[in-house]
């Protein structure tokens, strides 16, 4: 049993999805698709799954197909999990009803063997205790795990997973991988998985790198790393050669007289960008127009509690945010990170505890109103008005903040240059790549020059280059503006850029240290991910 993809090309209406894609996979292999948003990963996955018209040949299990119709006989042995959290789930059906529905539409006889298999999947996904919960009330990570086991229910021989782990916490990600590993060993399933997490990609048998509607490289993790090792140097090198600098490393095509560093798979993207002659905008933040004297502690929460019915989302959480500090708020899906930020912002009423912002105790709505001008917020689901251009959107946000038109205009054009989205100012929101969208949601939160910034998963689903640039921006803001940032993320590598990290579990704070302290406490840990998992095991 093997999969062969020969020169596949997909069009979405008139625009190209993917061109000239070829790959092959053997029984039990896991193939990883990595690349920026819109690079063509989903298009190829849809073509192989036979849900979109395409040109070229796909052969699986001895049957070649060129269209969704010809792929029909193979559908019983294909499992597709499309991109999007909980995309294939019905909000109003319970976990158990989902499993029965998916079993029925695949015409599976629900006998003893099936029931045992179902229970095993439920246990692996940690959902066996939630069988009566409606899907709409599950956390993002649980939804993804439910989608995955629904896809696995009919024991597919070809498994196509499109970013199954985006927005999923490291713990759930490990569980997902355990499920996958077991299935491929017991069923010999070929899996194709696209991912934004490079640590995950490293575990796959073969990696395909996508860029601009093409597959630009393929090989095992170590082969790919070897190809870029020569171009990776330590951070902070000064040179005239064209190069890309990140917080981790410097990438340069021509040999430099500098120390090399061990590359991660993310290096592939930077090297590729260099090879295509792309220039990274230099991140340069100018000083704020006016400065204000700030207390040393800008935010102090004491025993903050939030209760939804019988469910305690946050219980007695203490937290302080200092001037010019980046504080990372980490935890599994549903640990109460977003709820906590929403309490700080006043989007949820506080059910218990005290909150002090910029030295003022927050009691009433008026107290908050006075501080609105000092706080910036980027939500998990930042949305723009689709009928207005980027600039018009930003002007709209500015006028909502009561900023004078001329001030707003000059700030927008300055941010556009500094945050590197000036070429997109007149674009409509649906034309934007996700990474750009991120910068410009940041710009909208900075328009009123706040002193505190709350960022809720600003980098989920954003490609490696855009993420690296985003963090450089945050760092520059911190240094130039002495801004304080509270940020949540599921990328453990990003935690290392924070000054201090707070870990939440089931609504309670379980750790609050600087990065150095974390490493001191766990001397064996190689990366922050390992430390994180120590706390949740």
């Amino acid at each position: 049993m093997e999969l062969n993809v020969e020169n596949v090309r997909v069009y979405h209406k008139k625009s190209l999805g993917i061109a000239g894609a070829s790959l092959s996979a053997n029984e039990g292999e896991i193939i990883g698709f990595i690349g920026a948003d819109g690079a063509g990963k989903s298009s190829l996955i849809h073509a192989i799954a036979g849900v979109i018209p395409f040109e070229g040949d796909v052969t699986f299990n001895g049957l070649t197909y060129h269209s969704p119709k010809e792929a029909e006989p193979l559908k019983p042995s294909i499992g597709l999990m499309p991109q999007g959290i909980g995309l294939v789930l019905y909000d109003l059906l319970t976990v158990d009803e989902h499993l029965r529905f998916f079993a029925n539409i695949h015409n599976i006889k629900q006998d003893v063997t099936f029931k045992a298999y179902k229970l095993r999947l439920l246990k692996m996904a940690g959902l066996d205790a939630f069988q009566d919960r409606q899907a709409g009330k599950l956390s993002g990570g649980m939804m993804q795990k439910l989608s995955l086991i629904c896809t696995l229910l009919h024991r597919p021989k070809l498994l196509l997973l499109d970013e199954p782990t985006t927005g999923v916490d490291p713990l759930s990600r490990i569980e997902l991988w355990e499920i996958l590993d077991e299935i491929r060993k017991s069923e010999g399933t070929i899996s194709i998985i696209s991912t934004a997490y490079m640590q995950e990609a490293a575990k796959m048998d073969k990696i395909l790198l996508f860029d601009e509607q093409e597959i630009i490289a393929q090989g095992t993790s170590s082969e790919l790393l070897d190809s870029v090792r020569a171009m990776s140097y330590v951070e902070g090198i000064k040179t005239q050669e064209p190069c890309i600098r990140t917080l981790h490393a410097t990438y340069c095509l021509s040999p430099l007289e500098a120390e090399h560093t061990e590359p991660s798979l993310e290096a592939l993207f930077f090297v590729n960008a260099l090879q295509k002659g792309k220039k990274m905008p230099l991140i340069e933040i100018t000083n704020k127009e006016k400065t204000v004297e700030l207390p040393d502690v800008v935010m102090e929460a004491k025993g903050l509690t939030k209760v939804f019915g019988s469910f305690t989302a946050n219980e007695n959480v203490d937290m302080t945010l200092h001037k010019g500090e980046i504080l990372g708020l980490l935890g599994a899906n549903g640990a109460g990170k977003t709820t906590f930020i929403k309490m700080l912002l006043g989007l949820y009423p506080i059910d218990g505890g005290e909150l002090t912002l910029l030295g003022k105790s927050i009691q009433t709505q008026e107290d908050r109103q006075a501080l609105k001008a000092s706080i910036g917020y980027v939500s998990q689901h930042f949305a723009l008005y689709n009928d207005m251009s980027v600039e018009e959107n930003l002007l709209y946000f500015a006028s909502m903040r009561g900023i004078a038109m001329d001030v707003a205009k000059s700030r927008i054009s300055r941010y556009a240059l500094e945050l590197g989205f000036d070429e997109y100012l007149n674009a409509m929101p649906h034309e934007l790549p996700l990474g750009i969208n991120q910068r410009f949601s940041l710009a909208s939160a900075l328009l009123h020059e706040p002193v505190i910034l709350f960022l809720d998963e600003p980098t989920s689903g954003v490609d490696a280059i855009a993420r690296a640039k985003f963090w450089e921006l945050l760092k520059a803001l911190k240094e130039r503006w002495e801004i304080s940032i509270l940020i949540t993320t599921h990328y453990m590598s990003e935690a290392e850029f924070c000054d201090r990290v707070v870990l939440l579990r089931q609504g309670k704070k379980i750790a609050d240290h600087t990065i150095a302290e974390f490493y001191a406490e766990h001397p064996k840990a190689q990366s922050f991910e390992e430390i994180f998992l120590e706390y949740y095991r």
Partner: protein, 372 residues
Amino acid sequence: MKLGVVKAYVLKELTEIIRSRLIIMVYLMPTMVLVLFGYGIRMEVTGARTLIIDNDQSHYSQLLVSKFEHSKYFDVTIEKRGEAKALDEIHKAKNDILIIIPESFEKRLLHGQTTQIGVFLDAAFPTRGSTMESYVKGVVLDAAGQMLERLAGNAPTISINQRTLFNQAMRDEDAIVPGLIGLVMLIAPAILAALLIVKEKERGTIFNFYASPVSKSEFIAAKLIPVFLLHSINIFILFLWATYLFEVPFRGSFLLYWLTSELYLVISLSIGMLISIITRTQIVAVVLTVIVTIIPGFLYSGILMPISSMVGVSRYEAHIFPVMYYNHILYDVFLVGEGLASSKTVTYIFILALYAFSMLTLGSFLLKKELR
């Protein structure tokens, strides 16, 4: 077609419809439309507020006044304040009709001279105005006939001996409510059917259909059966409202009513399905369904005007939409009761069946099991 697959889908749809409380709309909307429109549309005029200025105060003028007073169509007040004041009342929309009987009314009649009476009508709504006008004329003519008989000593005049058929009391309810059933049964099932498919497209759950072995016919059956079952109950509910609340007579065969309604329901479902194939979002699907169904459903239903009185293009258009055929059968079973004995009814049932069949075929042909 695998029955297990269809059953699983149907069960899922029903669960979702109930949990999302869409079920309330399924049963509330048809009833609401029937009750609101049933009470709201009034063609006939009763109790028109009428002022009469009797300047003659004679025997014959009293006779004329009493004719108006005894008619259910007029609500008469004798106006004594004078003409100007009375006209003012009409201007203020406090009264609808002003009738002025001149001083020499009786005298001129007895002398065999023509006499005139003055009539002022509020014709702000033309239909209502012309209806009132004809009522006034009728009463005056009736009174004139009687007067002539007396004056000429039983001279023969023409008297009308009319019998109205099918709607003896000429009640508005009898004319409107059956037509409304035809309208409601076209709109409501179409909206629900369109929603069920588009909802999956909008959410992304349509991938479960694209990527699984579920066939097109299974998917269509799974989407249409729940709506068919739920709205079948409405056929009975609407029947009960019509016969009990609006007291519309039912003279035909209930079996004919029921089976034709189910056939019509299938047509409505397939309209919804066709719309869900070309739309992507639920809101567009609902708006489009309402536009596509409500205009022909209302114009060509025979509620506002009978199809037989339409001419030219509108007559052809009426024949394109299914509502005309169904309404013909509806009016037959409610008011006439001829049933299958009429060859027109048989032909119309056949046309409805053909309609349902071709719409379903077209829908399953156009539905694609792939992203676009």
